[in-house]
Symmetry: C2
Subunit: 356 residues, 2 copies
């Protein structure tokens, strides 16, 4: 499998991502920033406060708090809603980030119980939400990343939101890829966030920053979130390396999400036309999808390595074995747009040859 990664890294162009995650990402973001700009200082100062207010405005919320990570931000959000409703139970999708990527941080650090809603291979349904016992908070992720980036229709979100408000259930949005969803919904970030009580967004997914997250919500919620940020050790004396880069790449890429979305649909169509290859969703609703090959990684990898070595075009950097097939994730970013048509066509032609 390392050979596949190496062959991907050695390509001169890639269908996914924004290019390499290297120190150049930082240096580019800081190139035009004056040395004299003062650091933030434990959450205060001109580098952080207007930035937080900007994202409060973008999301149509009272206030917003910059966190070093989404892991920290979302645990804090669920704890605050749990305390506020005096209810120790929260609910989310079986493949929620908190359930599978955080070493059970939520449950190890807080007196919180979780309920997994619905099945791992699809979105949760309104009926499943209605069948839940009394909960403090329901977390929805848009798009549901671990199943390829799938999302409910906006009208369904409205129905879920209405139901939760009627029942006093706080609705939190894992909006790690919220901006990536806007072209599909044809809504503003604030219009989507408006259906939720709190929201987290990430700066290093489609936006391609270095790291960091915003947690936005009502004023009192954010005030309490700042206390928890201190408790977690997330209130660093200086967060500006992440903030400056987050702002730089947000401004650079926020208006490119429609382009990434169209390119993702185009790419998925090309993959789905190959024998033994398919994507989920079949038609992407954001810049991402999962790409599946019939067969096991041990058999598929050498074919992909050969194509990548011959064409210089990077398709796949890793494969995970599933039941009878193997999978990877594609997230379209700037790299795809930097390819010329001829390189793309030649790459797919060679891929078709390898998989026929």
């Amino acid at each position: 499998m390392n050979r596949l990664r190496t062959s991907f890294q050695q390509t001169t162009g890639q269908i996914s991502g924004h290019g390499k995650r290297n120190v150049g990402v930082l240096k580019t973001a800081f190139a035009a920033v004056a040395d004299e700009m003062a650091s933030d200082q434990y959450g205060t100062g001109a580098i952080i406060e207007p930035f937080e207010q900007k994202f409060a405005d973008v999301l149509g919320m009272d206030d917003a708090v910059f966190f070093p990570s989404g892991t920290m931000a979302q645990q804090v959000a669920l704890r605050i809603w749990s305390d506020e409703t005096d209810n120790r139970t929260v609910a989310y999708h079986p493949l929620c980030h908190l359930e599978i990527h955080e070493q059970d941080g939520l449950k190890e650090l807080h007196p919180i119980e979780t309920i997994l809603v619905g099945a791992a291979d699809r979105l949760m349904t309104l009926d499943e939400i209605k069948a839940l016992p009394d909960i403090a908070c329901l977390l929805l992720e848009l798009p549901q990343r671990e199943i390829g980036g799938v999302a409910p229709a906006f009208s369904e979100l409205e129905t879920i939101s209405r139901y939760c408000r009627e029942r006093g259930i706080r609705l939190h949005l894992d909006g790690a890829r919220l901006f990536e969803m806007l072209p599909y919904y044809e809504k503003t970030a604030a219009e989507i966030a408006g259906l939720f009580d709190s929201i987290y967004i990430s700066f290093y997914k489609g936006l391609g920053g270095i790291a960091g997250a915003i947690l936005a919500g009502p004023a009192a919620f954010c005030q309490t979130a700042r206390i928890w940020k201190r408790r977690y050790g997330g209130d660093l004396i200086s967060l500006y390396p992440y903030i400056v880069s987050a702002d730089y790449y947000y401004e650079l890429r926020k208006d490119r999400m429609g382009q990434y979305y169209e390119q993702a649909k185009q790419l998925a169509e090309q993959f789905n036309a190959l024998p033994g290859v398919h994507t989920t969703p079949e038609v992407p609703v954001s810049n991402m999808f999962h790409l599946h090959f019939d067969g096991q990684a041990a058999d598929i990898s050498p074919k992909l390595e050969q194509v990548q070595e011959e064409t210089g075009l990077g398709f796949v950097g890793y494969l995970v074995d599933k039941d009878g097939y193997c999978s990877t994730e594609i997230s379209v970013g700037d790299a795809y747009g930097e390819l010329d048509q001829q390189t793309r066509d030649a790459g797919f032609a060679r891929l078709r040859q390898a998989f026929s």
Copy 2:
């Protein structure tokens, strides 16, 4: 009080610190780093792994883990020792960072009880340690920052260490300012760390980095610490902005600690010669001390502002009222060495005039 801060910030030279905390600190550290250097990736990669090993070696420990903050690192250390000894009680000084600066994170996030050892205005004694009930871990801070930067003799540390080992009490070092203590002890970092089971060091105190911390200890301890780092949301996809700068300023300043220490003693002596002014400790044991003025901040501030405005030399950026006096903290860094003798002499002459 804001006028005092402003007058300090507008001076052209300062007796404490390393100069302004601004974006230039980052840019300087990255100036010689190639754009192509790959980011760390969730704790792995060439930018973080050799760095962690380097500090494991510096501290003579099996392993070391880079954390975004000391707050996170130390809570994790205490939790691990608590779990390992199956004992929910830890003990530390009444003015320990965990007790007064972390919004009770340790107690809010973990099932841990704390015992405050001794009195707030002095170091804890061996007898007080011996009088403790059964505890998982004792945390010592070197130097004890909140009382001016005071530290026990090395022989006393050895005695405490021996006692704790005999009793199965884990001994953790808050070594935020460990490197600053080495000239006084005339020991290596590893010789001091060797008395402890685990140790945290900070990169933005005397070293003057941007942020970040190392937690070092036995191999199994560090392995568990990495799990807790993930749980806390401290296992960022990219921590290199802090790591690269930490390494840069460590290399730049690690051999200057003796100089800062001598300068701190010299400065304290000059302050103690002024009427109505004294320092704690009277003779510093590191680069830091607390500086006290008889009277209240409202009366002292205007005098200091005037001296700072007239001389262009920054002595004090803030004052905190105590009982009959007011105080500030001095930490000697590069800024002091950049002053010429004439500026220093003229500054102290003017200060003497103001306080006579």
